[in-house]
Symmetry: C2
Subunit: 84 residues, 2 copies
Amino acid sequence: AGDPAAGEGKVAVCAACHGADGQATAPIYPNLAGQNAEYLVSSLKAYRAGDRAGGMSAMMTPQAQALSDQDIADIAAYYSSLEP
Amino acid sequence: AGDPAAGEGKVAVCAACHGADGQATAPIYPNLAGQNAEYLVSSLKAYRAGDRAGGMSAMMTPQAQALSDQDIADIAAYYSSLEP
């Protein structure tokens, strides 16, 4: 299962667009604060697998490919734990 | 631009998973309440174009393909207007 505290230490790159507090830094990016962890895992794995084109996938695919299953679980747990 | 009031009348199908109030009915689906409209438009257009595989795309692609640009703008404006 994901560890929110570990996830907090892994979101430095994510935070440039999604915010350290899960509030996106520009409206083309999704807010992540309070988002369902299960969905965040599903979407990060879809990006990692190269399943998502369009949108911001040119940015997200390589970022997701740098993440292990545990990294994904931890990051999802962290953002999910934040107040929306 | 999107019209939240018009969007409210177009989310009957979306609401089965994402909730009429934008709170997902199961954790594999994303909450949409208060999500950035610009991001929602981008993701719906990616689904509509067939750019997103994996995840829940088998459900989302045909749903998005039933939507016009105005429908997408209205639905995004509606969900974005809700309290997270």
